[in-house]
Amino acid sequence: MQFIIDHYNYWLVIILMMAGFYTVISRSNLIKKIAGLSIFQVSVFMLYISIGHVKDGAAPIIESDVTVYSNPLPHVLILTAIVVGVATTALGLALVVRIKEAYGTIEEDDIHKQDQSL
């Protein structure tokens, strides 16, 4: 039980990851898919940040009376990954706008039907 509580952030990562991934797979609304994809990516960001934590470590700012610091590198990596994630979401939503203009719908099934009837 203590194990579960101590690692609660990892459990959150798993829950978010599965929720996001399931949304991408199961929803036919294109915007909801993008939202699911974002949640999926965010869970990975949380995973990285959790990895960076060092037991009893302080924030990685040099101070005289601190000896153990958390690892700042994963945070820096995730800053990059967040930028990538934002770009992906923006591009995905831009595509949805264009799809809406071209098809008049953002439901995957309707789009599929329109393509089939051609």
Partner: protein
């Protein structure tokens, strides 16, 4: 000066050129500038390959930070060869782009189109150059994001959905890769691939390492369109503008195959592959991919989609080479990366020329085209022969090495699958040749009347024939392809425990 920063310049030149191109006025200027950039990058890539072809390794420390803390660009003959392929295809396809882009992409988007093209090139070259696995993820996303944008520029509205589908699949793949990298970092505390390969053997039995391996493999199987994760590829290739299809078909999946090989043999090791069922799985999926995708190709009514499925089948061959895990198998994969790039680029260029003249890539609209576009048709036939693997073409060399690798391990079933795949390739190439050459009925269904269709303009034919000649040349002279691939494969397999 250039010598010492060579490996960085190859990535930085197109990266800096991209925003410059974006602000140039539409029209010819962006094209001229991009052409200059790609040819100079191609020249640098040749220099780079010459530097390392004798077996040396060039290590470049970004910003002077020593690896493994700083980002390292680590060039050996493996990635120098892949960088050469990517920049070479870009350099050859840009002269083609001027006419093709003018026809297929609205003029007000040309400068943005070339900017996205250069960004895609940056990403792909960055993947090949870098020795840092997180840096690789960033470059992967640069190339992916720009290729989604490029694909969505297709004229039909299906291009948008194809691009969207690719975005979803590609992002899931890249995120899986990111999870794997995170787990590796948690276990080893390093992101440098060279450093990883030294630290990993001690903790191979750990379950986290196996999980990381699985995540990375599935992530990249999505990016390289390994059967059965190839579903995004046919739509993306079919609806993208011709020039984008040429470039992506020849480079994007090849670079992903390179990463797969690099991660398996350069970061993990053959030992891990053989202690898990990965090698059997690769052989199985490779065989299934070759057969299933080739059969799907036969039934397609759109020529671009036909060759897209054929690409999935060809990737199956490369996966087979990885699955063997032997020097011969890897040599076959590398040689096929090179040869498939030039043959698919040639074939898609021929289709692009047909699209330029007829406005369609439907098989039924190609009736009798051989008589109106003899040069395009001849190039198409030679490209097709190379795809099948007829002796005297580049395709034969890679099939030959693959069969040798299969014979070496006495897996007769793989030999049978390779030969069946070639027979199926004969079927789908013949289908097009027949309709273009022997079926000379009036072209009623096409919008343009058949009198208007004449030979493609010289600016399309020249790059096309350059690639066709390369296809024949590398069918005889294998010193560049096999001569580099074989020591590269030995190096990847050799110095691992």
């Amino acid at each position: 000066m250039i010598e010492s920063h060579l490996s960085l310049l190859i990535v930085v030149i197109p990266l800096i050129a991209a925003p410059v191109v974006a602000v140039l006025p539409n029209g010819r200027a962006p094209w001229l500038f991009s052409t200059l950039v790609t040819w100079s990058v191609f020249y640098l890539a040749i220099l780079q390959l010459a530097n390392v072809s004798t077996g040396g390794v060039v290590s470049y420390e970004l910003g002077g930070w020593a690896p493994p803390w700083g980002i390292e660009y680590r060039i050996d003959s493996v990635n120098a060869l892949v960088a050469l392929i990517v920049s070479g295809i870009a350099a050859i396809s840009l002269p083609y782009a001027l006419t093709s882009v003018a026809k297929e992409i609205p003029e007000k988007q040309t400068s943005l189109f070339y900017a996205a093209f250069l960004l895609c090139l940056t990403g792909l070259l960055g993947i090949t150059q870098t020795g840092d696995i997180f840096n690789l993820f960033v470059f992967l996303e640069i190339s992916s994001l720009s290729s989604y944008a490029l694909i969505s520029l297709g004229r039909q509205r299906q291009a948008l959905t194809a691009s969207y589908q690719y975005l979803i699949m590609g992002t899931i793949g890249a995120t899986f890769f990111l999870i794997g990298v995170g787990l590796l970092y948690a276990m080893t505390g390093t992101l440098n691939m060279q450093d990883l390969s030294q630290r990993l053997p001690e903790i191979f039995e750990h379950r986290t390492i196996h999980t990381a391996f699985a995540f990375i493999m599935v992530g990249f199987a999505l990016k390289l369109a390994m059967f059965p994760l190839h579903l995004w590829l046919p739509n993306a290739y079919t609806y993208a503008p011709s020039i984008v299809t040429i470039f992506l078909a020849a480079t994007a999946t090849k670079v992903a195959v390179y990463v797969m090989i690099r991660v398996i043999f350069g970061v993990f090791s053959l030992h891990l592959i053989e202690s898990t069922p990965t090698d059997e799985l690769f052989l199985l999926l490779g065989m299934a991919g070759v057969i299933a995708a080739s059969i799907s190709a036969i039934y397609q009514t759109n020529a671009k989609r036909l060759f897209a499925y054929s690409s999935v089948a060809q990737i199956g061959y490369m996966v087979l080479g990885i699955g063997f895990g032997s020097v011969l198998g890897l040599t076959a994969s590398f040689v096929h990366i090179f040869n498939h790039a030039i043959m698919k680029a040639a074939l898609f260029m021929a289709l692009g020329a047909i699209l330029y003249r007829t406005g369609s890539n439907q098989v039924k609209d190609m009736r009798g085209l051989a008589h109106k576009m003899p040069w395009t048709f001849a190039a198409f036939v030679i490209g097709g022969l190379s795809l099948i693997g007829v002796p005297g073409t580049a395709g034969f060399i890679s099939k030959w090495y693959l069969v040798l690798a299969a014979l070496e391990q006495q897996s007769w079933i793989v030999v049978a699958v390779i030969l069946t795949g070639s027979l199926l390739a004969v079927a789908y190439v013949w289908k097009l040749v027949e309709i273009m050459y022997f079926n000379s009925g009036p072209n009623a269904s096409s919008k343009t009347s058949s009198e208007d269709i004449k030979e493609a303009p010289l600016s399309l034919l020249l790059p096309l024939w350059l690639l066709v000649i390369a296809n024949i040349y590398f069918g005889f002279d294998t010193s560049l392809t096999v001569g580099i691939a074989e020591p590269a494969a030995t190096m990847l397999l050799g110095d691992k425990p």
